[in-house]
Structures are given as structure tokens and as C-alpha cells.
């Protein structure tokens, strides 16, 4: 009975996630597409849970369903205020030759992926065994954190750089997101007074728990960003004194620490980000803490739009 229900759950989720994705892409109403994308993020979180990838589910919940939703809504407001034509008359998707060639391309990719899975040796178990065998050398006991911050640390280093580049790209466009005139009001003010400390606490918890259970810098950074976004939304602006070098320092703190460690390990150990087992735990905590701060500040800055002080340009 239970297997049958489990199976029904997976089928229902699979149908739901595909239909939401299709609806979000096919929608001609931009706002509808955004809400469908948020719903897609929610369902995708559940899909990752069913696949036993709790770390990814946590990241999807924080970034996919959370921060991205807020960013898209702000971008929609900006479009609506400055170029309403871009929203109202979005053409009804692609048609004709474009659609057919896209379909062929998608089928080819699907066939290639299917072939790759099909040709895997039947006794293939992935790299899980190697990770488990070396876990006690990594300084942490959560295998996902061990892979992300130790065994393949350079992947994470590059991901953090990508986030910083995204912000520089947004800044170079000089986008200002319009802020409505209405005062936040007592209710919203109270909500943010209660939630902001709680969000910061949860971010710290996720950072700490990442060493032995699902959690880590990206999830914690996204929750930290949610605190920043909530403060911006309830009418608190970044003080001018902090908008200059302290902001920029917070932005590069994580990437710079990570990069410095990469250079030091290259010189001392001969390999980039080769962490010696007796130091690994502490080094990972330092990287993750600085990365959390930088990710949180970067995502908040993305929500803010133009670099502070240059909005009137």
C-alpha cells in the first residue's frame, strides 16, 4: 500500500513540475509567468526532497522559491514603471520554424541524456563510495559540504565569483528600481522587526548545521539576503556611510578570502584548495562564514539595483 502511495506521490509531483514549467514558459502574461515560476520552485523543492537531495531542496527553497521570486517581482515593477509596452504586448511565444527547430533541439538533448544514462554500467554507484572513504579527511561530516568546500572547492569558488559578476553587470546598467511612495505602515514595520532578527538567526543556524547536516553558505546567504530585502521593503535604506567602502568590502569578503586561500594552498601544498585534514574543518568554517556574508550582501544589493549614491545618474 505504502509503495503504491509513494509511487502516486512521485507521479503527481512529476506531472505538476512539468506542467508548471510549461505554463510558466508559455504564459504571455509576464506576472503570471513569475507567480508560476515561484510555484515551480515550491514543487521543485518537493521533487528534490523525494530524490533524497535535502541539501539541494534547501537551496531551492531559499533561492528558487524565495529570493529569485522577490528579485523577479522587483524587476517586473521596474519594467511596469519604465517601459509598460515590454509587458503588455509580449508576443504569444514562438511559432513555425522556430518552434520545430527548438523541438528537434530538445529531442536531441533528451536523446543524448537518455543515451548517457542507458550506457552507464549496471553496477555503477557514482562517486559516493570515494566520498565516504575520504570523509574523515575533509573536516566535516556532511558529504555534500565535503564535496562543495573541500574535494571540489574550486567549483564553489567559481560560483561565488559568478554571483559577484552578476551584481557588477547589474550595477553597470545603472538600473534603479522604483520605490512606491506609501509609508510601510505599522503592520509591516512590526513584521520586519520580528522577522529580521529571526532570519539572521536562521542564517547562522544553517551555516553552522552545514558541517554535519543539510545547510551551508548558499542557503544561509539566501536567508541573510531575505533579511536585507525585508529591511529594504519596510522602508529602511542603507545608510550613506555604509554605502561606500563598507558595502564593497562586504561584497568581496567571501570571494577574496576564498581566493587568498586558493593562492596560499597553491604555494604551500602545491595544489589549489588542498586542505590538510587537521586544518580543514576550521578553514571550511572561515570560508563558509565569509561566503555567507558576501552572498547575503550581494543578493540584497541585486535587489537594490543601482549602486548606492549613483541612482540619480
Amino acid at each position: 500500500m505504502e509503495t503504491l502511495i509513494s509511487w502516486a506521490i512521485d507521479v503527481a509531483l512529476a506531472l505538476l513540475v512539468v506542467s508548471l514549467a510549461w505554463r510558466a514558459l508559455a504564459s504571455t502574461d509576464l506576472f503570471k509567468a513569475i507567480v508560476l515560476f515561484i510555484a515551480f520552485g515550491l514543487v521543485l523543492t518537493l521533487v528534490w526532497v523525494r530524490l533524497n537531495a535535502t541539501d539541494v531542496a534547501l537551496a531551492e527553497a531559499a533561492i528558487g522559491a524565495g529570493v529569485t521570486g522577490a528579485l523577479l517581482l522587483a524587476a517586473y515593477a521596474k519594467l511596469r514603471a519604465t517601459s509598460p509596452d515590454a509587458i503588455v504586448d509580449r508576443a504569444g511565444g514562438i511559432s513555425g520554424i522556430g518552434a520545430i527547430s527548438l523541438l528537434i533541439l530538445i529531442l536531441l538533448v533528451a536523446a543524448a541524456l537518455g543515451y548517457a544514462v542507458w550506457t552507464l554500467p549496471s553496477d555503477y554507484t557514482g562517486l559516493g563510495k570515494e566520498v565516504a572513504a575520504n570523509l574523515d579527511q575533509s573536516g566535516v561530516s556532511n558529504p555534500v559540504t565535503a564535496v562543495l568546500l573541500n574535494f571540489r572547492g574550486y567549483d564553489t569558488l567559481l560560483e561565488i565569483m559568478v554571483l559577484l559578476l552578476a551584481l557588477l553587470g547589474a550595477w553597470s546598467l545603472g538600473i534603479t528600481i522604483p520605490r512606491p511612495e506609501a509609508a510601510p505602515g505599522l503592520v509591516l514595520d512590526t513584521l520586519s522587526r520580528l522577522l529580521v532578527p529571526l532570519l539572521i538567526l536562521v542564517a547562522a543556524y544553517l551555516l553552522w548545521v552545514g558541517a554535519h547536516a543539510p545547510g551551508g553558505a548558499f542557503q544561509a546567504g539566501a536567508v541573510l539576503a531575505a533579511a536585507g530585502v525585508l529591511m529594504l521593503l519596510s522602508g529602511r535604506e542603507l545608510p550613506a556611510a555604509l554605502a561606500t567602502w563598507p558595502l564593497r568590502l562586504a561584497l568581496v569578503l567571501g570571494p577574496a578570502t576564498f581566493l587568498m586561500l586558493a593562492v596560499i594552498t597553491l604555494i604551500l601544498e602545491g595544489r589549489v584548495l588542498k586542505l590538510s585534514p587537521e586544518w580543514a574543518g576550521r578553514l571550511i568554517l572561515i570560508i563558509e562564514t565569509t561566503a555567507t556574508i558576501s552572498i547575503g550582501v550581494t543578493l540584497t544589493a541585486l535587489f537594490m539595483g543601482a549602486p548606492p549614491g549613483e541612482e540619480d545618474r
Partner: protein, 99 residues
């Protein structure tokens, strides 16, 4: 099954029914204000009963506390967001439904 198990089953099932009622109201009610009313039933009571039912089954106080925290959070968020959406909709000039 012990008494607390039976109670837990009753709470969980009732919670599920409130989610159903909330979804039904969301689909059937005529305007945004009445739909908000349906939404909060699922938010507050549905999740509340689910949390209560689950809290009877967990074996540590810390986990029960975390469940309670999530519910309190949903209560706070649900009430605030509903108020803000209703206020925004009124400001926008959406007229409440009249029979």
C-alpha cells in the same frame, strides 16, 4: 495504537480537510477579499492542526518546539500578508464583491 495516536490521526485528518476547504474557497469565492478569507483558514487552522497532530508523534521537545515555531511563523506571516494584500487591493481600487 494508543489514545494519543488516535488523537493525532484525528488532528491530521481534520488539518487536511481545512487545506481542502482553503483550496476550495480559493477557487469558488468571488473576489480577492473573500479568497483571502479562505486562504487564512488553510494557513492558520490547516497547518495548525497538522502541526498539533505531528507534535503528538515526535519524541523530543525540541522538535515539537520547532514545529510550533513554524506554525507561529505561518500565523504571523499569514495575518500580516493578508492585511497588506487587502490594503493594497483596496488602494488599487478593486471593489469588494456585493451580492
Amino acid at each position: 495504537m494508543t489514545t494519543s495516536d488516535y488523537l493525532s490521526v484525528a488532528l491530521l485528518t481534520t488539518g487536511g480537510l481545512f487545506f481542502l476547504a482553503g483550496t476550495f474557497g480559493l477557487l469558488r469565492f468571488p473576489d480577492v477579499f473573500t479568497r483571502l478569507h479562505a486562504l487564512t483558514k488553510a494557513d492558520n487552522v490547516g497547518l495548525g492542526l497538522t502541526v498539533a497532530g505531528l507534535a503528538l508523534q515526535v519524541d523530543s521537545w525540541a522538535v515539537a518546539g520547532k514545529l510550533l515555531l513554524i506554525w507561529l511563523l505561518a500565523l504571523l506571516a499569514g495575518a500580516t500578508v493578508s492585511y497588506l494584500i487587502a490594503q493594497g487591493a483596496l488602494r488599487l481600487g478593486i471593489r469588494p464583491w456585493k451580492r
